[in-house]
């Protein structure tokens, strides 16, 4: 893409010189007869220092040492603040307290002890010590060099290896146990800032004089956490080491391999779980008296159902992203079957809602309906707000601090939410915001606070007519179609995915053009997720470092490392 962009610029220069025929031929040759605009020439992303998310930490440990070890330790990372729609973006704005450092250390000690215990050492260590009761510098160095490369996401400097071997040797001599010593050194590795932080490092870009790009290891990490939600594997680090990752062919090959890997599913589950704010399920509960069918297992299955639907639709079958909002195909479990009022068999099975069912698309799945309701009743306002914020990237202002809910909570003898909200909205300070959320939220009132279908509320037939940004409809299908065709829908996914990939919220000042470029490409490619991932990962914006944000001082400030040490470590 970088080369294509440069070539097209060259062509336009040629056009000015009057070589029109050659220009025309060249344009067609390079663009494949497409009229798509090239990536904006100045697109770039900022350097960032991000704390690993809990899931990234667990995935990394699991991929390096095995799922039994990662599963035995709770990820010691602190919760993140949702920032511009994503928890992952909050990772670029968080540090760790001394208490959290202590938790990281405890987890590191636990992991290190398990890695070298008698059940794991034979297959996790590349060598056996000469004596189990004495230090063995050679074996320790071999293990630490190999493991440190995967944990640091770059080759370790020999001085770093040497420091850790000294730790291992000293501890082994004191404990008269080689493995205890090695465990101590591994613990030290695991609590390193370079392990728990993803640190972007810049270097001069030889293809764009005067500009900077991520160094190969930072690019490998960015790609890996973007697509796999985990640290780079050996092959990706090898591509970085060899320099292939900074060639068009090498980068394309690496991205294609990552998209073809089963880990892409893990990575995209993490992204959509974040984008759809499914962390709310961790504390979601329903009143068991009103919704006796809803148990913890039901809600966990609701979350899983939507993630399965998304992954199946977007990755397995490579379908149009917009159709997620109208699809009748999903997956069903036994506990969910009861909520949906449908029969099913054990385990997760594919399920298709019939044509006369009111269920179609993500908005009619229990995960959306139950998560954006109150514990005891549905909420058109919460649903409308979630619809706008999660899927259209719009911001609904919070209610004023002195809002009076009494008219809503004690609206008198009015059976339906539409009527209750009408009473509430007699207050002009409330009415404005509710106009943004309620018309589409009310269209989902055929689903109660647990997501079960109903035609009446307190005996009154529900009026589910509504309107979404100028599109008027009469029923739920009208809403889902309006959502599917909403012009902001695909742009929002692009926004979130780009932010997720580059490790922080987008900047409307700098990223507007490149986001428009990705959105246009997304549409041209049939709104297929894998194409969008491909475009973002191979873009100049993903690799190039935004001017003025190249200093290693940023990294040093965040991690306490000395700038020269950072540069040296990445050489």
């Amino acid at each position: 893409m970088l080369i294509l962009s440069q070539k097209i610029q060259h062509v336009f220069k040629a056009a000015k010189s009057g070589r029109y025929l050659v220009v025309l031929i060249t344009i067609f040759a390079f663009s494949g007869c497409s009229r798509e605009a090239p990536e904006p020439s100045g697109s770039a992303s900022p350097l960032r220092v991000r704390l690993l998310t809990g899931e990234q930490y667990s995935n990394t440990i699991g991929h390096i040492f095995g799922a039994d070890i990662s599963g035995s330790v709770m990820a010691p990372l602190p919760p993140l603040a949702r920032t511009d729609g994503l928890l992952a973006s909050g990772a670029a704005f968080v540090g760790v307290t001394s208490d959290q450092v202590q938790q990281i250390q405890q987890a590191a000690a636990s992991i290190a002890a398990k890695v070298v215990d008698e059940y794991h050492r034979d297959f996790l260590l590349p060598c056996e010590p000469v004596s189990k009761t004495e230090a063995d510098a050679a074996c320790a160095a071999e293990f630490l060099r190999q493991t440190g490369r995967l944990l640091y996401r770059r080759p370790m400097a020999e001085s770093e290896v040497s420091d850790l071997v000294n730790v291992a040797n000293t501890a082994a001599e004191k404990t008269e146990d080689f493995y205890a010593g090695l465990s101590m050194a591994l613990e030290g590795l695991l609590i390193s800032p370079e392990v728990v932080f993803i640190i972007d490092v810049a270097e001069a870009d030889p293809n764009r004089p005067g500009e900077e790009r991520l160094d190969a290891y930072s690019l490998a990490s960015r790609l890996s956490f973007f697509l796999w939600n985990s640290a780079p594997d050996d092959a990706l680090l090898l591509a970085a080491e060899s320099g292939e990752l900074h060639t068009d062919a090498g980068l394309t090959q690496a991205v294609d391999r990552m998209l073809a890997s089963s880990r892409i599913e893990e990575g995209m589950r993490a992204f959509f779980d974040d984008m759809m704010a499914f962390d709310e399920f961790d504390s979601l509960a329903k009143d068991p008296v009103i919704y006796p069918m809803v148990t913890g297992a039901t809600l966990a299955d609701a979350r899983e159902q939507t993630l399965r639907t998304v992954i199946d639709h977007l990755l397995t079958r490579q379908l149009d992203y917009r159709d997620l909002f109208t699809t009748r195909e999903t997956f069903m479990s036994m506990s969910l079957g009861a909520l949906y009022g449908v029969p099913t068999t054990n385990g997760w099975v594919p399920y298709q809602f019939p044509e006369d069912s009111p269920r179609s698309g993500l908005l009619t799945q229990v995960s959306f309906l139950a998560a954006h309701s109150h514990a005891v009743r549905s909420s058109p306002t919460l649903r409308g707000k979630a619809l706008r914020e999660l899927f259209l990237c719009q911001k609904v202002p919070p209610p004023p601090p002195d809002v009076d809910f009494s008219a809503l909570e004690d609206a008198g003898d009015v059976p339906t939410a539409r009527e209750r909200l009408k009473v509430h909205n007699t207050n002009p300070s409330c009415a404005g915001c509710h106009l943004i959320t309620d018309p589409m939220g009310l269209s989902l009132e055929n689903f109660d606070g647990a997501g079960r279908y109903r035609e009446t509320e307190d005996g009154a037939v529900l009026d589910i007519r509504g309107e979404l940004d100028g599109t008027v409809y009469d029923d739920i299908q009208g809403l889902t179609v309006a959502m599917r065709n909403h012009p902001k829908l695909s742009a929002c996914l692009v926004n979130r995915l780009y932010a997720y990939g580059t490790g922080g919220p987008v900047s409307l000042r700098y990223d507007r053009d490149v986001l428009a470029y990705f959105t246009e490409r997304f549409a041209a490619n049939g709104y297929r997720l894998s194409e969008l991932l491909h475009d973002i990962a191979l873009s100049q914006a993903f690799t190039a470092v935004r001017q003025g944000e190249t200093s290693n001082q940023t990294v040093a400030d965040a991690t306490g490392l000395i700038p020269s040490q950072i540069a040296q470590n990445h050489q």
Partner: protein, 361 residues
């Protein structure tokens, strides 16, 4: 997604019932989709008619259990061997006889009982239903009604069985009504009895069974439990024709056993979400007793003041059906069980043709 994989559900009429409102309580006539509706058992226990203090049905009080009988039989047990006392009673519990009971045993003496008129006759030994219906056949009640362990809500047998039927998939019995035109009135419906394979859907407490769950049919180990019969619904009450021999899994305290009921029939009040009423028939005496002592050790029997030795003699004495061709002794005893069921989607095996027997297909 492979849509074809989900087609069998639709083919079998197990499609969504959302639009028909199957789970909604309603007074309007209810017609199950494709004329089918399933129910899964959530409670099943011997119907025991109880007055508050038991004086009406048990004027002589409640029966002794193993501890009380032991004290009466072996007042000098400290001077006797284990073989002469504990083991002797244990042996007799496992190998009971029909010899007259040397200790007093109190049958139910009251005139009322839950149950059905199984033989169509009104005889001198029959009970009267509390609603006034005469000719109720329930001799199991006569035998167990004055034993504390069989009386609710705290009797040990009641507690164990209540828990076991929901916890144990071994006990997951279901009925499926077919050809239902109206759940309130239908002069002919089919009834199939299956065992399910799956955990019971409950609320968040885990104690209350909820409608709307799904159960696959146990076509393998449960093949021998499948039965078919017919029935009719009048004013929302289903009455079935007798099933010649119904086998009822009866796992309790982790021990799998069975009860065998002859001429078994249901009388159930139906709603779209529940089916409650009676299962009545003639319990095989030997199976009945075997279930009791396999499920309950002397420890448990003692807690419920249930003397296995005396109960076996009572059951044999009160047995009222199916005489042994050689000895003439009755081998089965009339009974009724309270049964509660909740609606469930019965999932037939994939590929099963509509109406086909899932076991013999």
């Amino acid at each position: 997604m492979n849509v074809k994989r989900i087609k069998p559900l639709a083919v079998l009429g197990l499609t969504t019932l959302v639009t028909t409102g199957v789970l909604a309580e309603t007074s309007a006539p209810f017609v199950p989709e494709d004329g089918r509706i399933g129910y899964v058992m959530t409670n099943l226990f011997w119907a025991v008619y109880q007055t508050p203090d038991g004086k009406e049905e048990c004027p002589q009080g409640y029966n002794d259990g193993p501890r009380e009988q032991f004290a009466k039989l072996f007042p000098n047990h400290e001077q006797m061997t284990v073989e002469e006392t504990q083991l002797k009673q244990e042996i007799e519990t496992w190998h009971p006889t029909t010899e007259p009971d040397p200790l007093p045993f109190y049958d139910v003496e009251g005139p009322l009982s839950w149950g059905l008129n199984l033989d169509g006759e009104v005889g001198p030994n029959d009970f009267t239903h509390p609603d006034g219906t005469e000719g109720i056949d329930n001799e199991v009640y006569r035998a167990v009604g004055c034993i504390i362990g069989f009386r609710g809500p705290d009797g040990v047998e009641v507690i164990f069985q209540d828990k076991a039927i929901t916890d144990r998939r071994y006990n997951r019995m279901m009925i499926e009504l077919g050809d239902v035109d109206d759940l309130a009135n239908d002069d002919h419906v089919t009834i199939s009895i299956y065992r399910g394979l799956d955990t019971l859907l409950t609320d968040a407490t885990g104690l209350k069974a909820m409608p709307g769950g799904s159960q696959r049919i146990d076509t393998h180990w449960g093949a021998g439990l499948v039965r078919h019969t017919e029935g009719k619904i009048v004013d929302s009450v289903l009455t079935t024709e007798p099933v010649a021999d119904m086998v009822m899994p009866w796992m309790n305290l982790g021990v799998p056993t069975i009860q065998i009921f002859r001429d078994a029939r249901f009388q159930l009040e139906l709603t779209p979400t529940s089916a409650n009423g009676l299962l009545a028939g003639y319990a095989d005496v030997e199976s009945y007793y075997k279930q009791l002592i396999r499920n309950d050790s002397t420890h448990h029997l003692s807690n419920g003041q249930i003397s296995g030795v005396s109960l076996y003699k009572a059951l044999s004495r009160l047995a009222d059906a199916y005489p042994d061709p050689e000895t003439g002794a009755k081998t089965a005893i009339s009974t009724a069980l309270d049964v509660k069921m909740t609606q469930v989607y019965i999932v037939h095996p994939p590929g099963e043709a509509e109406g086909a027997d899932p076991v013999t297909r």
